[in-house]
């Protein structure tokens, strides 16, 4: 049976490691300006944010009565409105200002930089 002190050290070590990883993940530069909008493992759209000149918005439906409004500006993209219960996707803010993928779990929707994309779907999209 370990002493409480040993457990505390282990927990502190894991905590420090994860804080380091989080900082690294959040600050690593994006190599590509292309983002993918993925729903249920299918790539709906690929957008090169560097090629965007004017702001525009569109709505993505989840096929079950739910929807997310996506706004694109030169160099960045966000979910500007949604009818999911938690609105975590809206509060996430802009990609790539906030480097992590934008996720809307209730609507199975994700917006991510293609740097991070390793889906079968994205490989198919590239092949096409």
């Amino acid at each position: 049976m370990w002493q409480t002190k040993t457990w505390l050290r282990l927990i502190a070590a894991v905590l420090l490691l994860c804080v380091g990883l989080t900082v690294w993940l959040a600050t690593r530069p994006a190599a590509s300006t292309v983002v993918e909008i993925v729903q249920n493992g299918t790539v709906l759209q690929r957008i090169d944010l560097a090629a965007v000149t004017e702001e525009y918005s569109f709505t993505v439906s989840d096929g079950n009565g739910g929807s997310n409004q996506i706004t694109v500006q030169p160099g960045r993209i966000c979910i500007s409105a949604a009818d999911c219960p938690d609105l975590i996707c809206v509060h996430h803010g802009w990609l790539p200002d906030n480097r992590a993928p934008i996720v809307c779990l209730p609507h199975q929707l994700m917006i991510l930089s293609v740097d991070d994309a390793t889906t079968d779907a994205s490989i198919d999209a590239t092949a096409q």
């Binding site: 049976m1 409480t4 457990w7 493992g41 992590a100 779990l105 079968d120």
Partner: protein
């Protein structure tokens, strides 16, 4: 036996109330999967006081009923994945901990809950991109697990003399 069923039902009712109430609080941190997990106080308490089988029954009933009450089918998958991982980890760990170290069980359980959710998310989204959230979720598990663990620890200390069965 009747006493046991009554106690389990009482704990389930408490867990459900906490679960439903917590769902009403808007998410404070906009990261998918991060929440306080207050209902885990009941799971930890039950694991140490009523035994593994009763605790498991309470957990599964709470997840199923909780998702019916909040009306979210997506949440069910994630709750079940997280709940099963969490329970498994706590059950294994329990043997190696004294009752004074109960809160550690909760910390490890919460971390595994988030690992379980991540596993479901990986299967669901079929992309490793969401692993970017893994370190944050582990941090969140440690912090929230410590909080709920200390709550459960205080509860056990105070109710220590009360025989569960």
């Amino acid at each position: 036996m009747a006493k046991r069923i009554s106690l389990d039902a009482l704990l389930l009712a408490i867990a459900l109330i906490i679960f439903v109430l917590e769902a009403q609080i808007p998410p404070l941190i906009p990261i998918p999967g991060v929440k306080l997990g207050l209902a885990n106080i009941v799971t930890v308490y039950a694991l140490f006081r009523t035994g593994a089988r009763d605790a498991f029954a309470i957990l599964i009933c709470r997840i199923l009923l909780g998702c019916i009450f909040s009306g979210q089918i997506m949440a069910l998958l994630f709750s079940l994945g997280g709940g099963l991982f969490c329970f498994g980890a706590m059950l294994l760990l329990k043997r190696y901990l004294s009752e004074k170290q109960l809160w550690i069980c909760s910390v490890v359980g919460a971390v595994f809950h988030n690992l379980g959710q991540m596993t479901v998310a990986l299967l669901f989204f079929q992309t490793t991109a969401i692993l970017a959230y893994l370190p944050v979720l582990i941090i969140s598990g440690i912090v929230t697990g410590a909080f709920t663990g200390i709550c459960a620890q205080l509860l056990i200390n105070r109710l220590g003399r009360t025989r569960a069965r």
